[in-house]
Chain length 240, copies 2
Amino acid sequence: MASERAPSHGEPPSTLHQSRSAERVLALLDTVITNGAVSLTDAAAEADIPTSTALRHLRLLTNRGYLVRDDRGWYSVGPAFVRMAVASFQSGPYARLMAAAQPGLERLVEITEESAYLAVRDGIEAVYIATVESRRAIRHVGWVGKSVPLQGTAVGKALLSEAPAPGTRPRSVLNTGAIEPDVTAVVAPISGPAGVIGAFSVLGPAERLVGERLEIATASVTQAAMETSSALSEARPVLP
Amino acid sequence: MASERAPSHGEPPSTLHQSRSAERVLALLDTVITNGAVSLTDAAAEADIPTSTALRHLRLLTNRGYLVRDDRGWYSVGPAFVRMAVASFQSGPYARLMAAAQPGLERLVEITEESAYLAVRDGIEAVYIATVESRRAIRHVGWVGKSVPLQGTAVGKALLSEAPAPGTRPRSVLNTGAIEPDVTAVVAPISGPAGVIGAFSVLGPAERLVGERLEIATASVTQAAMETSSALSEARPVLP
DNA sequence: CAATGCTTTTCATTCAATGAAACCAAGGCA
DNA sequence: TGCCTTGGTTTCATTGAATGAAAAGCATTG
């Protein structure tokens, strides 16, 4: 469902491996995390690894606490991974972005009444890493942690765009139905000190995001992106 | 600083490896994530791996987007890892716990005016996976994502305790200075359908958590644990 | 420019990873 | 009840993938 691995730089063919076991362990970890709870055979199939080998790797991951195995035999996220996950939000390049973007997301939902997302680039894909959901009954949900191609999507275009001059309003990008039919996306790029580093997406049903509502969405998403960009270019706190 | 790996079941000696490269890649990933931004040599040293090998592994991790390498050469969290991290909060055994515990954490801070944490067990350690910080100037901060031994700590004792009969108040555990001097911890276990699965910790300066304040902390932490436990034993939503 | 500290490449050696096959355990079903 | 299918687990001989010492780059600094 959610995205094959993204070879940031295309590795040669795919039969040429350089550290197979490592790659495979990561692939398994990824499958389990993104797919929720999976059985050995499912995980092995999804990652295209013989079960005997997959078993050994999954065992390693559970021994280390990165995964857990419930009574039914399903594998899922383990405490050690959760530890890393929360730690990764405390520091690192994305922590600052997520913190700076939070108010923007909230205001976007308030103004547009649609769901707002924060996306970043991952190789040839875009990843949605944060959201505030619309409070309406019909709303866009469930894209956090999901990745979509850059090609042909509004997020993609925004993430690949040139950063506007500091303090100026970025251009918004509009698209309907690129990923899912009847979903309209209004996106604006967020710039950091070194170019575009993320994007705000307002996502809602195509028949609702028209006319005045669309104008409001466009205006507020560029506004939010601009404000977040300025916040990010202010003096950065010292590193640990 | 934060915890050597935790062999949930002790693997044989430690010189007997079964999938070295995999172990090492995980070790490197872990070091980078928990230590923020590190250089090749630092990461290699911390994980006790020859630099040439470490380099190869770190490259794999960056190619896959799990890590990024900034202009200075430091490695830190990458978009692919953030994707997994946020995905891991959407589902999995800990998602439910964290969601159920959030209101409890907030009320604990409101009542006790100290920082409150949620901890879970990871092998022979406890991991703090969520927090709401006290609003006071002097307060306990920065333990999210950190792990501490079960042995000799209040969290440890709570996590290893027997689950109380459903609907009854759990016993609280008290400790001062086990991890850091002058820090008092008031802890109560949270039970799920299958025994103790987590714990609430109220942490504050030893000289402040005394007398009436301590009584309040004890009462509210057991109360919160009880309420969260009941919430968790209610009908669970269907799995994907 | 010599010295120092990191990073990167190379390459011969070996040991760790591999997966096919055999084996178990547990349902399902007639 | 016993047969059969569908996972999961173990074994073990084979091989090629992982390894790391050493040497070579490449900045930075005094």
